[in-house]
Assembly symmetry: C2
Homo-oligomer: 316 residues x 2
């Protein structure tokens, strides 16, 4: 059966919002590294190029970790070298340690992301270090990166809950954020790594964050593991967050919830904000074409609800 | 890999909310009638009984429509007759016309639902009548049902947008709601039939509804077609809606979006509200067991994000 489904937004008038939101596309790194699908250097370059074509201006294109840890991210140097540069587009790469930093600098990276967990157990399991030890490593990496003229972004993991520790004291999250800012991170991305955040919590937490940080310094990194990512994005937006990380098609996820949704889909964020009259600068059609290519050519299973909806319309 | 994922809600303290929400389970009718899976009378009775066991107090158990239209709903009389009665539990049945009403009354139904669309095109295609003609039919059905001592519930379809007409003038929706109230419907369920609603719209629309109706008279019936059902539920709740329709496992949907999500999952509503400290009276574990039974025994494909998350935890 066919119905001329139209995507203009009906009903009560929406108050247009001045100013848009900034989306940071993490699919080529956080997405790919948690999927079984393996992309060649050439395909990774194609993916990032198409994401730029869709209007994304901040894209995390890979990481400089050991290929023994994360084989999907091997050859990030080649990806970075082959990517076309465009004015106003930032290609971010993740660096876990001093070794990764030197590799990133040798590859010509100029936008680096560092990370630390707000859960001792998660940090210990992920990095085999205490939070304080990791923070020392991050400080050294950031100092050297700043000297090399790089821009820095900091991730804090598990800020809305940890699978092992449960609740994380939010004072600790704020202290970590301030430590990352002090060592030169221009933006801190507050990560709901396993999708345990919920709307009243995210609203209250991000309101606190924005008492301590400028709006440009704050990003919200959501996962849709339990289906609450968009309610959390909405609450973050309501209290003033204006930067959101997303992954095309909702690619990525959490090794402890195979089959559940992963990172919040970039198209889900674009769609949500578009219904609210909030500009993202991203073309939903072009973004959907990237997701289709990942699914149909490369065999990814993408769980973004909006992507699945768009697919459902193709056959009708 | 296994992680002791814990479901207590971490982070910033949530303000406990006095008073809960009332959930109306529509899976055995709105869910089943839009799925390929066919349940026998015995299995439909089992399904409703298990939903009662899970704590649901309002359950739509079937409809009295022609089995040529909707074969899944044939033998609703037998379902109703075989269902165990429990104090405080209401078994609702849908009646589309005078013939259906007589069948329902003959089967001993005491809680009846009637419906009309707020889109002329949708009403015409669905019922082959103008909205005014349908409203006349509904008036006659309601008059007779009230004489027979029945309680009545009214559905209005496509209130946040129609696939053919796009935006629906919300004044028309309010007039239809008042007409249904005037003929004796104790509650009006405002339906986002094809999941076109979005959060700012739902917030503004339901705030208007609650200027015209008592809170007990209002329900929100959401579909997750484009992934916005929970953001819409949250906005509805924020402006005062306290009754929500849901379908176990997210069963059901829309014939124009095969493969997309359908009705909002009852478990997604229960989970969302539980994170906010809002009581629903429904046991998530028992509800999930019904969804697993529908999927594993009966071959339904259930898209409720929370159900999929719970499934992902079984193998870990």
């Amino acid at each position: 059966m066919s119905a001329p489904v139209q995507e203009s937004m009906p009903g009560v008038a929406v108050t247009p919002t001045s100013g848009g939101v900034r989306l940071v596309e993490v699919g080529p790194r956080d997405g790919l590294q948690n999927e079984r699908v393996r992309l060649s250097v050439r395909d990774r370059v194609t993916m990032v190029t198409r994401l730029m074509d869709a209007g994304l201006r901040d894209i995390e294109v890979g990481s400089f970790v050991s290929p023994r840890w994360i084989p999907q991210m091997a050859q990030t140097r080649e990806v970075l070298e082959q990517l076309p540069r465009r004015e106003g587009v930032r290609h971010w790469v993740l660096v876990p340690n001093a070794r990764g930093l030197e590799d990133a600098l040798a590859a010509g990276a100029t936008h680096l992301a560092v990370f630390v967990s707000s859960s001792e157990t998660h940090n210990q399991r992920n990095l085999n270090r205490t939070i304080d030890e990791s923070l020392e490593d991050v400080r050294a990496v950031c100092r050297r990166a700043r000297e090399a003229g790089c821009e820095l972004r900091g991730y804090i993991s598990t800020v809305f809950g940890c699978p092992w520790e449960g609740a994380i004291p939010f004072d600790r999250v704020l202290r970590l954020g301030e430590a990352l800012r002090d060592v030169g991170c221009s933006q801190i991305s507050f990560g709901d790594t396993t999708g345990m955040g919920h709307p009243t919590q995210v609203r209250a937490s991000m309101a606190r964050v924005l008492q301590h940080f400028e709006v440009e310094q704050v990003a919200l990194h959501l996962h849709d593991t339990r289906g609450l990512a968009l309610t959390n994005a909405l609450m973050g937006w309501e209290v003033g967050v204006r930067t959101f990380d997303g992954s095309v098609g909702g690619m990525g996820g959490c090794p402890y919830a195979a089959g559940a949704s992963g990172n919040v889909g970039t198209e889900d964020l674009v769609h949500l904000f578009s219904t609210m009259g909030i500009e993202t600068g991203v073309d939903l059609g072009a973004l959907g074409a990237v997701a289709r290519w990942l699914e149909e050519v490369h065999g990814a299973t993408l769980r973004s609800p909006y992507f699945r909806y768009v697919l459902s319309q193709r056959g009708s």
